[in-house]
Amino acid sequence: MLRYLAGRLLRAILTIFLVITFAFFVLHLSGDPAMMILSADAPPESIKAFREAWGLDRPLWQQFLAYLFHALQGDLGNSMRDGRPAIQLVLERVPATLAITVPAFALKLLIGIPAGIYAALHRNSLADRLTMMVSVAGFTVPSFVLALVLVLVFSVQLGWLPSAGSDSATSAILPIVTLGAAGAAILARFTRSAMLEVLGQPYIRAASAKGLQWRKVVVEHALPNAAIPTTTIVGFMVGTLIAGAVVVETVFAWPGIGRLLVSSVSNRDLAVVQAILLLVAATMVTSNIIVDVLYGWLDPRLRRGGSRGR
């Protein structure tokens, strides 16, 4: 087990490294921060001074190595806009994002999974078809469209909820619902097909033939098996807890990581963008590892040895 984890950890670090490298070179090659931050009309001397101050006049590979060197010591650079450490800026915003993504995640699980299970148990019934139609709508409608519709209905027409910002207690509701809707829809669909696959297996019929009540067959035999593939999707959703709310945060002017990312990219605030990407990659990779370990626990067939030909 330890060797397995060590291997996965190594691969995780490699993945993060690749992400940072890619981000670094793309960002540096795609535009001039000096121009963005100082504006195009700035006198050439100040642009030159800016570049020197931030080390942008050195060769790219040198900048990259310098960045890595500092990063390994925990220094991810400073924001070019206000000079504060990038890490600080990013971590400041994390709670705000989590304030909407975590409840949204809970919403996805609490609505999506039961809906999928119900649909599978009542296959081809009206409830099943309705659930599937709603779920298709849920994940095909782009989140900003849904957001705008919700704002129109609940803020403009009914006036129950604020349309943007994070001032009042109720201002999180619309963002959470918007975020949760698509995920719940996907989860419903996925859970349904996982359940259907399991319900068609011989051991379900054998359990019924034993005389076990149907309710128990579903809960004790079908669900544990359907949980296995469902874990993959849920794990993926956990991985997007940090960065999955970019559009929603923008539409609702919610002060989280998503908005920070958008503004940093358009400003070419390199250090901040890289810090965010590092955080996102780390989250994704961690949730993947957790899912893999969970798999071994959920499915005893995966705990075995292997063979190779000579």
């Binding site: 011989p202 051991y203 054998a206 033939a209 034993k210 005389g211 076990l212 098996n225 005893p300 067939r301």
Partner: protein, 322 residues
């Protein structure tokens, strides 16, 4: 051994229709069958003949796309149309069933001990230590060595033969009067097959349990049952004692099956296959379903499906030319 006191289970005019959404297809066309206490009955036929469907229908295991008609009498009750709770009381406790692929008939994420325990709790109200002791005893009964360790194993850690023994042990947990074995050895190796069939015979002798052995292999049925029903396209075409079926088969399909089987002893003779293919249930010929493939057919065969007539005391055939 107590004398058989009449029928344990009696199927009368059992029909099964499947609703495919677009139309209704009849899979069973009126099955009449009796199983007496302690009897060993074989049910033989090729794929699609309805041999498994018959008993899945009797136990209500076909799902809600199936419409079941006719009667299945157990004691004084009719199981067809009975409420689910009643069927659940019959399953496992009066009539148990084991299936073809034992390794996929067991839940892959539960240990053997837990699955056995489930049956014991359900039928005998046993829990904890008592259940564990009884589970061990059942595993011993089906000749699984090292029973204590096996209780903690998962199905994928056991071979197919051992999983089938576990299935038999689970079936025995409820002390049923009748065991339906649906192709129990088809997925197993030859020597393991012999072991399992021997085990079934031994259990029958010890407990007086009745057995319905479903198979496509006449040889398997021959050695392990007293009486055989041959099925074709959803009907029983012949019902006779084992020796009669082999020595004086009356129905052309039964004869055809015997002629298509190679022997292990004696001179090698050419195999005589049965021409044609088994018809689709949705596309049965009018009249006798076997007529298009039958050498002895006459015009009257295509008029109506032949009724089952008694040739001798215990020998019934559905053929007008028998």
């Amino acid at each position: 051994m107590a004398e058989s006191t009449g029928a344990l289970v009696s199927l009368q005019g059992l029909t099964v229709d499947f609703d495919t959404g677009k139309r209704i297809v009849r899979a069973l066309h009126g099955i009449d069958l009796e199983v007496r206490r302690g009897e060993a009955l074989g049910l033989v036929g090729e794929s699609g003949c309805g041999k498994s469907v018959t008993w899945l229908a009797a136990l209500g295991l076909l799902g809600n796309r199936a419409r079941i008609g006719g009667e299945v009498r157990l004691d004084d009750r009719n199981l067809v149309g009975a409420p689910v709770a009643e069927l659940e009381r019959v399953r496992g406790r009066r009539i148990a069933m084991i299936f073809q692929d034992p390794s996929s008939s067991l839940n892959p994420v539960h240990r053997i001990g837990r699955q056995l325990g489930e049956a014991l709790r359900l039928h005998r109200g046993l829990d904890g230590k008592a259940a564990e002791a009884e589970a061990r005893r059942l595993l011993d009964r089906v000749h699984i060595a090292d029973a204590q360790r096996r209780l903690g194993d998962y199905p994928h850690e056991l071979s197919g033969g051992m999983n089938q023994r576990v299935m038999i042990a689970m079936a025995l947990a409820g002390q049923p009067d009748l065991l339906i074995a649906d192709e129990p050895t088809t997925a197993l190796d030859a020597t393991v097959q012999a072991q399992i069939l021997e085990l079934l015979g031994e259990i029958r002798r010890d407990s007086g349990m009745a057995l319905v052995l479903i198979s496509h292999d006449l040889g398997v049925v021959a050695e392990n049952t007293d009486r055989v029903c041959v099925m074709y396209a959803g009907r029983i075409v012949e019902d006779a004692p084992i020796d009669t079926v082999f020595e004086e088969p009356a129905h052309p399909y039964t004869r055809g099956l015997l002629a298509a089987l190679p022997e292990l002893d004696g001179p090698r003779r050419a195999l005589t296959p049965i021409a044609g293919v088994v018809p689709e249930p949705s596309n049965l010929p009018p009249g006798c379903s076997f007529a298009p493939r039958c050498e002895r057919r006459i015009e009257a065969c295509e008029a109506a499906p032949p009724p089952s007539t008694a040739l001798a005391a215990h020998h019934r055939v559905a053929c007008i030319r028998a």
